[in-house]
Subunit: 336 residues, 4 copies
Amino acid sequence: MQMLKVALLGAGRIGQVHAKSMTATSASRLVAVADVNAQAAQALAAQIGAEARSVEDILADASIDAVLIATSTDTHSDLITRATAAGKAVLCEKPVDLSLERALKTLAAVEANGRPVMIGFNRRFDPNFAALKAAFDGGEIGAGELLSITSFDPAPPPVSYVKVSGGLFRDMMIHDFDMACWMFGGAPAKVTAHGAALVAPEIGAAGDVDTAAVTMVWADGRIAVIKNSRRAGYGYDQRIEVLGSKGLLSARNVLENTVEKITTAGAVSAKPLHFFLERYMRAYEVEWSAFLEAVTTGATMPVTLREGVAALACAEAATRSLHSGETVAITPDMLG
Amino acid sequence: MQMLKVALLGAGRIGQVHAKSMTATSASRLVAVADVNAQAAQALAAQIGAEARSVEDILADASIDAVLIATSTDTHSDLITRATAAGKAVLCEKPVDLSLERALKTLAAVEANGRPVMIGFNRRFDPNFAALKAAFDGGEIGAGELLSITSFDPAPPPVSYVKVSGGLFRDMMIHDFDMACWMFGGAPAKVTAHGAALVAPEIGAAGDVDTAAVTMVWADGRIAVIKNSRRAGYGYDQRIEVLGSKGLLSARNVLENTVEKITTAGAVSAKPLHFFLERYMRAYEVEWSAFLEAVTTGATMPVTLREGVAALACAEAATRSLHSGETVAITPDMLG
Amino acid sequence: MQMLKVALLGAGRIGQVHAKSMTATSASRLVAVADVNAQAAQALAAQIGAEARSVEDILADASIDAVLIATSTDTHSDLITRATAAGKAVLCEKPVDLSLERALKTLAAVEANGRPVMIGFNRRFDPNFAALKAAFDGGEIGAGELLSITSFDPAPPPVSYVKVSGGLFRDMMIHDFDMACWMFGGAPAKVTAHGAALVAPEIGAAGDVDTAAVTMVWADGRIAVIKNSRRAGYGYDQRIEVLGSKGLLSARNVLENTVEKITTAGAVSAKPLHFFLERYMRAYEVEWSAFLEAVTTGATMPVTLREGVAALACAEAATRSLHSGETVAITPDMLG
Amino acid sequence: MQMLKVALLGAGRIGQVHAKSMTATSASRLVAVADVNAQAAQALAAQIGAEARSVEDILADASIDAVLIATSTDTHSDLITRATAAGKAVLCEKPVDLSLERALKTLAAVEANGRPVMIGFNRRFDPNFAALKAAFDGGEIGAGELLSITSFDPAPPPVSYVKVSGGLFRDMMIHDFDMACWMFGGAPAKVTAHGAALVAPEIGAAGDVDTAAVTMVWADGRIAVIKNSRRAGYGYDQRIEVLGSKGLLSARNVLENTVEKITTAGAVSAKPLHFFLERYMRAYEVEWSAFLEAVTTGATMPVTLREGVAALACAEAATRSLHSGETVAITPDMLG
């Protein structure tokens, strides 16, 4: 595989994660970093031996093949549109946008210019979930009927973050919406959401929930149930389970270690890995390699922009359902 | 504890289960069996050294302290009312009735005559679920927030049974409604149901579903999610999991044995116990002892008729929700 | 199957266990109990609706088909010989005797009179170990190579008991010797023992060990390793694991319940069942049924007296090895 | 921490493993590679951006701080001696030597010249075993009594390798000897070995065994049992379990993934990771960092040459025991 020259837009927390995971392959070389905070861009660039440059400069540089967008969500649509217009391949962090309307416009623009765009749903590349998906697609439990996703964060983010996050459904459960659509092959027909602020009253005061259960129903009757909490306390609880016509497949948590201690107090094993950095670092590496390979071979992106829009449509429907108390249909116009 | 003389009404499958589990204690003696099918009553009575008698005869016999009602569901309300009027203590199989309206009348009648009635929600007496409940009530994971119940049967019943069963919610999920109300201390404020006939089209043709997910929301925002399927294939899947403010409690399946085989094909462990007889025989024994003890001591029944009505109210709400596509409130008049 | 009339010799702890487990089947009726302590015999007999009688009386009663010997070990050989001479079928608790020499004489006597004798190695009838054995015999992991048995008691017995027990190898590891011979189809060629009194100095002062590891080697090179401790603290640790040419089979502990609690302190599961009563009650029931069936059908006993002697020969060799510091051969004359 | 300049002696399989794991830290820079096979040295050097140089040249280069010896075992003693004489810090792969006598001379030489030498027992740095050791040292199960190590390779090496390996005890079980001495704080008083060629007759023909059980007994009575097989079939089986006065600690296998599939055929989980590269890559990285830190700070090496000699003394004793059929004492002169 040829080596691609790539740039990173966004030098914040998730940008730094990507900068690190991008080094696991020699199929790309990270040559430039941009950030609205010039100091952050400088620091990260220095650390990885790249150059801090402006977004404009990067997009204008014909030698750069691809960009990874890890900026704040409200800039995603604009950067995807500009980067593809400049001929770059794009890997953009989730979610596509907070506004479904704007995301649909971005989808239209990208499909018009034909450049490849991938959305960074990292969990699809976790080796455990990938193994579950492969077994499911291989028919090992027959036809899927009932899917369950458990996804709990160890602790709630600051309320300041919650306020700009788009809410639990667009920021956190968006991963699970994608996982469900990925498992069951497309968007559901309808979505019902329930939730409350049981963990942090200030999240409730900010108009969001921190505990939620969402039911997705497909046109053929298949059902998915997603449970989210902003606080598991014991770590990052990330599980999937699917009942099929011939059996059950599940992916359990990854634990800190394999040690068990048995005393009169019981048998104590390790907790799940604490958070996404510990749990998904390998997934980020695989994600990046999968993107590079698709760019190089011209294959369909492993996670398309259209799929990113579908997950956002689910989040939009869930948000409406939570507020209205009614089940909300996912209509074709919501999927682009 | 004094030895109580008891009679069994109903000599069918579940009656035979009770006849067997009742022998585990010497605190009661099963002296009479009644059944509309006289031959069935005779056979069971002979087997256990009791007498086959008519219901009328049993209720008129002042030496009989208590009756266990294991007849068909449509006779429960009538028998509860008559037995308590005759001064008997009653343990009645779930559900109280298929009609919430009739169950509420029975509740009123029983509360008027003051005799003790227990509803046979056997799962509360499973040692695993009882241990989970004790840990939860002991505050080991703090305040409850998000409850999940997975309850899959190994294989669907004949459609002839489905037609008279009252449907999945009244017949099967009724157990899980009780479990949820038991865990969270009372009935929820609202219920949303989704379901489909994915396993057996004839169940769908009979107007019922075989795969369902129900969300219950309490007035304070706590949420429970129940998943049911009439067909797990691999056995009886019976799990509970509850997220609290300080951690997670779960009760896993009971497996056929503890053997593990590791070969190039992977690590193979045993399946869950096949069905309720294997899984809950011990629970039926504990249930019966708990009933006898409450009768003897005069303590509140471990599962009250009022609680049986609450579970039925949930089933009623779920049924309405499934048909209307809307969330249904549990109003005070539904709880008696 | 016809119902056998049986008597119980010995009304102590293990006699009471058997009296209880014998009630699980209707294939036998326990009609008489004998004990040197007449009061103990009376009490147990009253409890189960049998008669307290003398051993002589029982052996002289032609209507009694079989006896279960649960008296002190030093009486086993004598009672086996007398009971078989009186025409009874015999189930005798382990070990056959503390003296290999005397056990060999008993074996000769029994083989001369031809009556069926079974030795009560209850663990063979544990559903978990039985499932492991069936899988092993079914060739699921190919040919056996390396066997491991872990067998730890929760707490050491009183030193007064240790002094008359014949020592760890004859009293406790005798079970594991039988298990190893059962798994690998006959006695090993040699035995090496190591041990120490690490748990209770008074056990060391009494000339015994409380912690031991024994290696058994078969003529064809197969190896078994047995580990024993008189104190696990957390309960009764009973595990078997066997490596074969195609994989590994293991039987894990049976836990008190299936509940798991995950908090910041880790994931806590239940301990193993506390001791043999909890763990092996079902095994005692199956053992008794297996004995009755062999008596009725005339089939070979599920555990023969000859096998009981082989286990004792292993214990004898281990004891000699511990004291001499050398590996001890199991010679044909030790097996009868 | 300052960056150390280091050289790698040996560009074979294990040398390549180290070359890769050494890149995980920026605390060292691998500048030179030597190998008797010049082409192998060139290839590896090119790949990692280092220079292929002769051993002489490397040892004479004062700018090189440390060397990692990953050459064939028969060269270890010579290279350790020469490298330390040249003032280098040394990390040498296990075992120190095949000859205990020669290893003792090397120990004397190194202690005379005072340079730091570490032996590469990688398993101590596995995060799971390290967590077990930390819990044990922290007193979480009280005083250690009975240690069990299970260590099975997935498949036997070619017999050509076996012939030059020094045999199972010096080549494979050497890891477990070190683990046992590490856990129990020093060498045992005596060793008993049993073994056979059950997997590969050609290994037997070459005078070695492929299946073995070794018992180590410490002066105070503590016991360790090590089981080795050259063929587990299902992968790399690497487990440790230690019984203490207050409980049991165990480290289970690391599995390929967390997926479980339950069907009528049972519950299937993933196998253990296949071999040492998959299981211990992280351990090699941690090992290297631990070496660098000790070199930089002047702290005692995490695994001393003396400890490497002790493991070899155990292997020597086990070999003698296997051949003589007797227990072999570890005498002070064997430990240097």
